[in-house]
Each structure stands twice: as C-alpha cells, then as structure tokens.
Symmetry: C2
Subunit: 337 residues, 2 copies
DNA sequence: TTGTAAGCGTTATCAG
DNA sequence: CTGATAACGCTTACAA
C-alpha cells in the first residue's frame, strides 16, 4: 500500500491536522466550509496548510463525497478558434463557483467520442458539455446510467441525451440562403465539408430555402470540399468548371469562404459582382478581408454561458425545468453580397 | 455515506464481481491486466461489465494505486489555433498508452495560472505540460513538492521547473531579423503584443540582431500593439505617422502580420516594395494571403510529441536523463519579403 | 491463476 | 463547534 512510486505529494490532511493540533474533520471543514470553524482553529489550519505545502486531494474528496468539481467539455477540434468564445462563456460562469473546466478533443465521429466520454465518466466528472451531436448508443447508455448531467451544444437534436443549448444549423442555413435570394441571387451554390450531422443539417436548410423560393432542391448545387482554405479554392474551381453561371457561393464555414475569396482575387473575379460569397460563423477574419464577408453570427459565448448555468442548476438540483434552449443566430450583411 | 445525490453511477466493481461469480480482484485484474486472468473468467467479467453497463471508477483507482492516467495541459488561450498542432502531437503519443489529455485555459499571468495548476495537482494528474513560462513561486513549490512531472513548452527558460521542450523565442526572433537584414532591409520595425515573458524575449532577439548588423538597438523601432488583426493596423498606422521610411515590418505573431498586410492593401502600399512584412509562427493563413508572408515555422507538433514522450518516460521512471530539448525553428521565405 | 485483508485520503454521520 | 468512526470503490500485498 505504501505509495513508493507514482503519485507522490505525501502531505495528507492528517499531517495538517496533527500540525494544527486538531482532528482531520476540522481541517476538512476549514477547507470546505470555513465559516463552520472557529476563527482561531481555522487560522491554525490555514497556517499548517501553508507551512506544509498541503494541496487538497480532490480524488479522495470526490470519492468520499460522491461529488466532483470538474466539468468536462468535448470539442471536435481545436483548430477552429470558434470554440474559444464558448469556452470563455463556460469559464466565466464556472470561475466563481469552484468548478473547473477540463476539455478534451475528439474527432467528429461517434466511436472516438465514446472513448473520450468514457474517460470523463470514469473520472466521475460532475457534468459534461458535448459539442458533437451524434453519439454512439453505448456512450448515451453510459451517460444515462451514470446520471451525468449533459448539455449538447452543436445543434438542436431531435432526441437529446439530456439538455441542449444551441441554435439550429438548418434554420441558420436556410435563413442565409433566403437572404441571398432576397438580395436577388438566383444561382446559389452551397459548399460544405464531408458529412457530419451538422453539415447535413446545413445542407438541408439550404435545399429547403431553394424550394421555398421556387427552385428545384438540386444536389448539383452542393459541392463537397476539403477542410481549410484549400476547400474554398476547390469550391471556386468547381464553379468555374461546372457551374459557371453561379452568382453566389454560400460556404458552410468561414475558412472556406475566405479561401474562396482569396481564390476569386487570384482569378480576377470581382466579389460580389462576378460572385457573391457568404459564410457560416462570423469570426474576426471574415470582417477583416476585403470585401468583408456576409456571415451568420452564432451565439458562441452565450452557448457556453447558458450551458454552464444549466449544468450547475441541474447539479444543484434547483430547477430541472429547462431542457432545451434555442439561442438563435443573426445575419451580418457585408460587402461580399 | 450513501450516495443519495451527486455523482451517481451506482454500478460498482463488486456488482460486476457478483454477477460474474468471481472476486472483485479478478474483475480488477481482468480490466487492468487481462492476460493475467484465465480466458473463461475474463469473458464472464467482460460480459458482466457489458450487461451492467459498468464504467471503471478512475477516481478510486487513482486513489488506491497512487497513479493517475490523466495528463494535464495548460494553455494560455484557445483563440490561437497554433496550439492545435501541439495538442495533436501530445494526443498521438498518449492515445495508445491509455493516458488521457485534459486541457485547461489560463490567461498569461502567473496568478491565474496558479489556480489552474493547483486544480490539476488537486486532481493528482500524472503529469503536466505548461505553455506559460512565468510561474508563481507557490505554483512551483506545489509542483516540486508533489513531485508532479512537468514539461514547459513556451520557451527555453533559464530556471525550468523540471523538463523543457521548446524553441528559443529570442533566437528565432533574432534569426528572422538577420534574415531581413540579409535581404537588404535596413529600417526594420518590430511589432509585438503587450508584455509577457515570451514577447519580451522576442524583442530582445530583435534588438540583438540590430546590434549585430551595426544598428543601434533602438526602442523606437518597437511598436506595442493590440491583439488581433487590429494590432497589425495599429502597427501600420504607427509606421505611417512616425516612421515613414520603414522598409520592413516584423510582427511577433501571424494575426498581426495578416492584419498589417490587409491594411497595406487598403492604403495601396505595395508589399514588399513599399513595406516588407514578416511574421512569427507559420499558420495556414499566412501562406494563403497574397503575397504569402515570410514566416518563422515553429515545431508545434513536435513539441507536443516530445513533451508527451518525456512525461511518460519520467512517469515510468525509465530515463530521467533528458531535461531540456531545443527543437529549433525554420525560416520560410515567401513573397512578402 | 485466484482470493483475502488492509488501506489509499477524504467526507458523512452522529455523538458530545 | 468539534471529534470518532465508518464508509467511498478500488488496488496492493500476501496467501492459497
């Protein structure tokens, strides 16, 4: 049993207790509920903690109390800075509460996500925020069985695991397409990444809008491209080669749209006269290029804030009322359309 | 003691043991060292795990074994996608080992970092990777006292906490400045963010290079700007107003450089003829703008990979030899200079 | 190869 | 307000 190797740390609560001349429980209380301990003893405890360099063992605390102070966040990728705002929203809520946020990256596929979720559940996190919208049945079962409070962020799923805070990818995509139609564009092409559930919703929204304005929801108007700036170039190349009369390009992501814009520049295509460009997700970059790109502004920060709030409410079992929050979106019209 | 609220999960190892008709130890072994259990029993255990939806409790495991399977990573910000590669490097090493990476964001100041480090130590992580280079004395004491293996990433500090895997900000900055001088630029301005230790090292490198080419290390040649694209605009505005004969701008970050390039575009300044632009950190964006921006390519992925490797070696107490790894950098010459 | 007993460092409970 | 004791769920050490 002696911890000869591995996790060291050595100083235990009992050491602090001895040093301060009190029982372990008094130390525990001084640390967790300072007001419940007489000022004098409390001070002795704090001094002992300081002198010994004691660091509370949350492992033991969680095990014993059946409560964790960590919230897990699963993100599909860190390459995309769009999540930075969501993280900030979560942190701002969590900071004053004593909860800590730990994130893990997981590719956008249910199997790998299951590994990550499983690791978080194994650590018995107090709650989980998931960006992915497609989950393995095993992951869902695990989450439900463990009663881990969960908030999903990436879309408004039909059958949520637990709580949802998001916007509708389909509605946003549809709204932008209608916006383009209203501006007079009639040959709109949609460029998106290879299939993931949110990308598909965005496609559906695009097609729905076409139908609504009396056009055939033609799959030919959808181009599937690679990730990154190069994806935008691919979209333009496709248009140049196969759909030359296209008058507007709607990209399912900022980076794609900027890549497309750069490529138009190189080709001498005037934006928006030869081709209008619109994008999904209003990151800083799209308003700094020229022309600025018309974009969908999504409530990234707010999603983080509300997610954390709901999680804390559920954990503290105050309200369990709210299950689904649709935070909407906004169209930012710029010079590119 | 009953877990009436909070962490639920209910299914314990003993439940699995009963169901499989074996002792808890056999379950434990089947889970952790499958080969040490007879195939038949092992299968019974796995079946029971499956049927009951059991998820291993790593809290209890770590507490009991004094070993953790999580590695913590502290990043100054997620806004900057430069860290995505480092995270990938770490993940690639960790994935096959059963270790899990958990990241936390911490602003670039020692006090807030201390909170985050403290949380990780409280969770008794198996190892820690820190990007910040400036740490509070308390944080260092805590890390040393807990014997947590630590790798620092952001620079090559004089007095490392434990291990270091990085490049030299000063050397990189100096090399790029000398590169510009070699190309014939003689009125070089350096634009950087408000002070953090790495930013200061970059300034020093710039000034050292100036001295080396026989120029006065003049603080007037250093502009302090805001974060983001707007910082690049500020740099150009400063040059236009106060240092109009500047022939090259060296930005201590990509986004700054791109912001500067965009602003030159708007002003009708030809790059590199009116003004050459170079940047720190070779992200995707800088080679997609036109002209492509000359940049310092830093070994982000490799830093992650080596950091994780060193950490695992230290944890497994194989080699404790390597303490400091300088991974260098590379200058990528493009059309902007 | 499997089982038994003790303990990891904390907190819940209840008595004082 | 403080302390003794028994868990929390797992693994180490040792015995069979």
């Amino acid at each position: 049993m002696p911890a000869t190797k591995g996790l060291a740390s050595s100083v235990r609560m009992r050491d602090v207790a001895e040093r301060a001349g009190v029982s372990r429980m008094t130390v525990s209380r001084a640390l967790n509920k300072p007001d419940s301990v007489k000022p004098e003893l409390r001070q002795r405890v704090f001094d002992a903690v300081e002198e010994l360099g004691y660091v509370h063992n949350h492992l033991a605390r969680s095990l014993s109390s059946s409560r964790s102070n960590v919230i897990g966040l699963v993100l599909p990728s860190l390459e995309n800075s769009i999540f930075a705002q969501t993280v900030k929203g979560i942190s701002d809520v969590l900071r004053p509460t004593g909860y800590h946020l730990m994130l893990a990256e997981s590719p956008d596929n249910a199997e790998e996500e299951e590994q990550v979720i499983s690791a978080f559940v194994a650590q018995r996190v107090g709650g989980l925020i998931l960006h992915g919208t497609e989950h393995s049945p095993a992951a869902v079962r695990m989450l439900r069985a463990s009663h881990t409070p969960v908030v999903e962020n990436g879309d408004l799923p039909k059958d949520p695991i637990d709580m949802v805070v998001s916007y509708s990818n389909r509605a946003a995509s549809k709204a932008m397409t209608l916006h383009l139609a209203r501006l007079g564009y009639s040959k709109i092409v949609f460029a998106g990444l290879a299939s993931n559930p949110r990308a598909e919703e965005r496609q559906k929204g695009f097609l729905e809008a076409l139908k609504e304005v009396g056009q055939s929801p033609d799959m030919q108007k959808i181009v599937r491209v690679s990730r990154g700036f190069v994806g935008g170039e691919e979209a333009i190349a496709h248009i140049a080669a196969h759909l030359p009369d296209t008058d507007a390009l709607f990209c399912a992501g900022d980076v794609l749209a900027v890549g497309a814009l750069f490529d138009c520049d190189r080709r001498g295509w005037a934006v928006p006269d030869r081709l209008a460009i619109a994008s999904f997700d209003d990151v800083d970059l799209v308003r700094h290029v020229s022309p600025g790109i018309t974009s969908l502004r999504l409530p990234r920060y707010e999603i983080g804030r509300r997610s954390a709030e709901l999680l804390l409410q559920r954990i503290n079992a105050k309200k369990s009322s709210v299950k689904k929050v649709d935070l909407g979106f906004e169209i930012v019209q710029r010079a590119s359309t």
